[in-house]
């Protein structure tokens, strides 16, 4: 039985999760990472992806987040998501709309930097869609 720590998932609209968990998988900007208790303090940007939470009770819950950042301390972890939804509640039309918007952004981008950024975001979104569709 792993040690539990406090995890909070917050979106601008509300506090989605605030409970004791065993581990959390976060889609960091530079690769996925699993956070457990006593993790070294890290602050990272997160990319669109799935956050998997293993609660202290052994239950597993998954949330889809669209960007944001995580603040990890040995005593707990706070995830500030731009928008977050439970996997069960994800709306495919909404996802498709986001992808469409990202495509437009990529097409509209003026300079190389913003275009590569938009394209990166788009590819992250499509990966996410691919990961979710069979579910």
């Amino acid at each position: 039985m792993a040690e539990a720590f406090k995890f909070e998932l917050v979106s601008p609209e509300k506090l989605l999760v605030s409970e004791q968990v065993e581990s959390v998988v976060i889609p960091g900007a530079e690769g996925e990472m699993t956070v457990m208790a006593q993790h070294a303090p890290v602050m990272t940007i997160i990319k669109p992806g799935v956050v998997t939470i293993k609660t202290a009770g052994g239950k597993e819950e998954r949330f889809v987040v669209f960007g944001g950042f995580a603040d990890i301390l040995p005593s707990g972890c706070t995830l500030l998501a731009e928008s977050a939804t439970h996997v069960n509640d994800i709306d495919r039309a909404d996802l498709a709309r986001r992808i469409q918007e990202a495509k437009e952004d990529a097409a509209d981008a003026k300079d190389d930097e913003s275009r590569s950024k938009a394209e990166q975001f788009l590819s992250q979104l499509t990966t996410l869609e691919g990961a979710l569709l069979p579910a």
Partner: protein, 294 residues
């Protein structure tokens, strides 16, 4: 003197008005509760955001790589005012209070020879400011169709503002909204959001976030991602506070209106009854004097 029939009509119409204001008050009360809940639900995010931001600012230590959104352009010639008001009226002095604060600010800036640009969020503020400063209003954000205020709305506004900033459209940005203190008191507030740096940093360092963080990617990069988001969060909070404040103001305004209507009905009823009595007495006198004459 109004006739009995006129009085009766008058009372009926005031009663109808009272019913409407009463209903509006109750609707506002229900909406207020929801708006308050939304404002409270959004609080953790902005709090954590503030803490994280302070933390990173500390890590960077005001170094040269802080983004311009934080340090400013170094000038203060062009000011952008974002004036957030309600979309609807009938809420007492709520909208005019915010507009007055903004107008005083504009006047002061103009007196100092600065250039002023305005973005109006909400119809009422636009209507008021348009009279004096129509040429300065860049655009007007309409949220009337929006049923529940989402972060996307705030994000859209923030994006416009940041875009404008990057194009060198302004140097300093101030947000005008009404702080929701309680149902009966909303305080119009001016808050500088760009450059953001100093104010938020000094406020939070007292909490002593001493942990030495690892950053992934570099702090500067995180910061450049964080600051625009923070601006959106500030605007979002302003919009939510405004929504709650509007409903609070509307509730008390409609409560007053209902009470005034009640007073008016009482007064009219007394006049009506008196006149009716006078008429009855007059008729009686006529009958009695007629009988006496026989």
């Amino acid at each position: 003197m109004a006739s009995l029939k006129d009085l009766r009509n008058r009372i009926a119409s005031v009663k109808a008005t009272q019913k409407i204001t009463k209903a509006m008050q109750m609707v506002a009360a229900a909406k207020l509760r929801r708006a308050q809940e939304a404002a409270e639900a959004a609080r953790p995010y902005s709090e954590r955001m503030g803490a994280v931001l302070a933390n990173i600012t500390q890590a960077i230590g005001g170094g040269g790589d802080a983004p311009a959104l934080m340090t400013g352009t170094g000038r203060d010639d062009v000011h952008l005012l974002i004036v957030c008001t309600a979309e609807r009226g009938l809420c007492g002095g709520f909208n005019s209070q915010i507009a007055r604060l903004a107008r005083d600010h504009v006047r002061r800036l103009l007196a100092d020879g600065k250039q002023v640009k305005i973005i109006c969020v909400g119809k009422k503020g636009y209507d008021i400011l348009r009279r004096d400063y129509a040429s300065m209003i860049l655009e007007r954000v309409d949220l009337r169709e929006v049923k529940t205020l989402g972060f996307v709305n705030a994000d859209a506004i923030a994006r416009k503002v940041i875009h404008l900033f990057n194009d060198g459209g302004f140097d300093i940005c101030t947000l005008f909204y009404s702080q929701f203190k309680s149902v009966i008191s909303q305080i119009p507030t001016a808050q500088q959001i760009i450059p953001a740096g100093q104010a938020s940093a000094t406020a939070e360092t007292g909490n002593g976030a001493t942990a030495v963080y690892e950053y992934e990617p570099e702090p500067g990069e995180i910061l450049s991602d964080l600051i625009p988001r923070n601006i959106a969060v500030q605007i979002f909070r302003a919009l939510l506070e405004n929504a709650a404040g509007e409903m609070g103001a509307k509730m008390s305004a409609m409560d007053n209106a209902t009470r005034n209507a009640g007073d008016m009905i009482n007064k009219l009823s007394i006049t009506y009854n008196r006149q009716r009595q006078a008429q009855i007495t007059k008729e009686l006198i006529e009958i009695i004097s007629g009988a006496e004459a026989l």
